[in-house]
């Protein structure tokens, strides 16, 4: 599915390496101390951070040199997921093409997706008129409407309160059914809640995924320091 073959991503002077495969269709959490390279890894997969060695494949296709818009991945960023000057409709419709006045059929599909995330009737609002949780739902709707096989989540719900965050994580996973979800978190409880496997990231290196229960009860040696601090 998502395969790293001796991949090295470099942002400035900082590098992170990965050499493993992520299994298809499940939820994989990425856990590690801040500054270790979790974001760099995800942004590398999305094509924002240059890959300086090895190969990255998605569903067998080599995307190592592909531009971000040509990769079969959609991404939820930590913040700035929505354009503040566009309506909910316009923001979500961008998933289907660069049109600010979407065609009838696009509008219908957007409305349908907004129903799924529980935002019926809010398509004319601008982000400033929505709560934090509602804004997260808009971003999720767009990422899902992009309909890419891989969904990357760079802690998009970290600004929400604990209950709302759990709710959004559950919603994301249930709606992303069938897609491969890779999500960063700094909370092992999040991983325990929804992830099938966990990628540990230590400074400069991403470790191969381990089943979540194994990871939490018997973390890899490299991660022990991190867990002892939690």
């Amino acid at each position: 599915m998502l395969t790293f073959e001796g991949a090295v991503f470099q942002q400035g002077s900082f590098i992170v390496s990965a050499d493993f495969a992520v299994s298809e269709g499940g939820v994989t959490a990425v856990i590690g101390p801040s500054g270790a390279g979790k974001s760099t890894l995800l942004h590398g997969v999305a094509g924002f951070v240059p890959q300086v060695a090895g190969r990255t494949r998605v569903q067998g296709r080599d995307v190592t040199r592909a531009a971000p818009q040509h990769r079969p991945v959609s991404m939820l960023f930590q913040d700035n997921n929505l354009f503040p000057h566009l309506t909910v409709m316009q923001n979500v419709a961008l998933a289907l093409g660069p049109r600010l006045r979407p065609a009838r059929d696009v509008r219908d599909r957007v409305e349908e997706m907004l129903d799924h995330v529980g935002l019926s009737g809010l398509s004319d609002r601008k982000p400033a008129g929505l709560s934090g949780g509602q804004q997260s739902r808009v971003a999720l709707a767009r990422a899902l409407l992009q309909d890419r096989p891989v969904v990357l989540m760079d802690e998009p719900f970290s600004a929400l309160g604990p209950a709302l965050k759990d709710e959004m994580l559950d919603l994301s996973v249930s709606l992303a059914q069938g897609r491969t979800v890779v999500m960063i978190t700094h909370d092992p409880a999040d991983a325990g809640r929804i992830a099938d496997a966990v990628i540990g990231v230590v400074p400069g290196r991403a470790l191969p995924p381990v089943p979540t229960q194994t990871f939490l009860t018997d973390p890899p040696d490299e991660m022990r320091d991190y867990f002892s601090l939690l």
Binding site: F48, P68, Q69, N81
Partner: protein, 498 residues
């Protein structure tokens, strides 16, 4: 990559517009053979008046800024806003305001005359310095006020509780850091003064190099001499500009000056006096202008309205071209490049363009396009300074989101970036419009009488001593300038979701 190509084209266009005329000036005037004693006098006067203008502006600004920094009073915010206004106030308008207060038939003489005090005259070297102080005192106040407000209020609390001398402990180190830069910026601005010298100066004792360039054109019809003088002005501007670049700190258009630091020292009465005097000095000429101008509004000649139309056209054209160049140039390198243009004065560019164009076209037939181009070059450094942070912020915040949605090229700008830039674009378009509307510079070299811009038409009225009509035209000019600024600035704010 298409975006990079657009940036490179814009950069080459700007560089060509600066380098071409400068090369023409160097080629034509490089010999220095034509410099006379009068020209050397002009050089000396230019430096002398710039020094005193800067020294007086900064010297007066220190107590005014300190008073503003530590006193809260009704109208403080408005006064500080007004201190930003001279930036967009047309020079000729301010000059007419000063004439109506300090001139031979001005308000002050009407009061002083009956008291048996000597009559004041605003024309000459002191008039030039007076006008420069009028324009640059507010700038100096704002620059120095920024320095004052940058001192953390806790330090004043510590100093007060220790009973320590606030001036030597806190203010003197700040002034040592800020004042040289403020002085240098104003010195450079005054070195390139043309419109003030044209309207209030002249003669052997009050001619700047810029004015001498104009006189070489208009009185001597001597292009070589004009070019030689332009080389002198170029060296002067570049030298001083480099010094200013190293010394200057603070943001000339800075915001966030609405804070007052609570203090426990200083005399309330003295502070009130300084603020009152500064406000009177800045506001009286504008009030006097309104009083002097309103009666003449009814019978302004039709030529004034035609000139107004030409000025508005130049102003709007300058806005469009400036924005088209500024957006692709809004990077660190682009801003540095555009700063080169600021030390090349409008008259130097005008002289160079005249040399380049004269063999092919009649200069008067291209007066308006040339004025437009030169105004674009003059505005670009300010506009880029305003826009750059906005562009960089929009790219940092939404560049990756845009890329992940497949937005590229024009679509990326239209959907993601331009809406984020409405406020800075509106503000900088307003500045560009007002500056171009009020500019009295290169147009004087190219235009024939009766076919120029509104500021030039006003200058012609002053030359014919039709002061009533000139005051009225000044009101039209200031109204249109402020209206243009307001419309653009407002357009950027209304409905902007930030």
């Amino acid at each position: 990559m298409a975006q990079r190509a657009v940036s490179v084209i814009a950069a080459l266009f700007v560089a060509g517009l600066v380098v071409g005329p400068v090369a023409a000036v160097l080629w034509r005037g490089g010999g220095f053979t034509a410099l006379s004693t009068a020209d050397l006098d002009a050089l000396q006067f230019t430096v002398w008046q710039a020094f005193w203008s800067a020294a007086i502006s900064v010297g007066l600004a220190v107590p005014v800024a300190r008073a503003l920094a530590r006193r809260q009073f009704w109208g403080r915010g408005a006064l500080i806003s007004i201190m930003g206004a001279p930036f967009i106030l047309p020079v000729v308008v301010a000059v007419l305001g000063l004439i109506s207060v300090f001139g031979g038939r001005g308000f002050l003489n009407a009061v002083l005359g009956p008291l048996g005090l000597p009559r004041l005259d605003v024309y000459g070297a002191h008039g030039v310095i007076l006008a420069h102080v009028f324009f640059n005192l507010p700038l100096a106040v704002r620059l120095i006020l920024q320095g004052w407000l940058a001192i953390p209020s806790e330090r004043f609390q510590v100093a007060a509780s220790l009973g320590a001398p606030v001036f030597w402990l806190l203010e003197w180190p700040m002034l040592k850091r800020i004042v040289p830069g403020a002085f240098a910026v104003i010195f450079v601005i005054c070195l390139g003064s043309f419109a003030v010298a044209l309207t209030l100066g002249g003669g052997p004792r009050a001619t700047t190099v810029e004015l001498a360039i104009y006189q070489a054109f208009k009185f001597d019809f001597d292009l070589s001499k004009a070019a030689s003088l332009a080389v002198v002005q170029l060296a002067l501007g570049l030298g001083a500009g480099l010094v200013a670049l190293f010394l200057a700190r603070g943001d000339m258009l800075g915001a966030g000056l609405d804070r007052v630091v609570r203090r426990w020292d200083g005399s309330r009465v003295m502070d009130a006096m300084w603020i009152g005097a500064a406000a009177l000095f800045l506001l009286a000429p504008l009030c006097a202008l309104v009083i002097a101008g309103v009666p003449g509004l009814g019978d302004l000649p039709g030529s004034i309205w035609a000139a107004t139309g030409r000025s508005v056209a130049i102003s709007l054209g300058a806005v469009v071209l400036t924005m088209m160049l500024a957006l692709p140039l809004a990077t660190r390198a682009g801003e540095a490049a555009s700063l080169l243009g600021i030390s090349v004065s409008g008259l130097v560019l005008g002289t160079g363009l005249f040399i380049l164009l004269q063999p092919y076209v009649r200069p008067s037939s291209v007066a308006l396009p040339v004025t437009l181009l030169v105004n674009v070059l003059m505005s670009l450094p300010f506009v880029l300074r305003i826009l750059r942070t906005g562009v960089e912020g929009a790219k940092a915040d939404y560049g990756r989101l845009g890329a992940s949605l497949g937005l590229r090229g024009w679509a990326l700008w239209r959907i993601a970036y331009l809406p984020r830039l409405r406020r800075p674009m509106g503000f900088s378009a307003g500045l560009t419009a007002a500056l171009a509307m009020g500019d009295l510079g290169v147009i004087t070299l190219f235009s024939r009488p009766g076919q120029g811009t509104l500021p030039l038409a006003m200058y012609e009225l002053m030359g014919r001593y039709q002061m009533g009509a000139a005051y009225a035209a000044a009101l039209v000019l200031v109204a249109v300038s402020l209206a243009l600024f307001w419309v653009f600035d407002r357009g950027g704010r209304v409905n902007a979701d930030v």
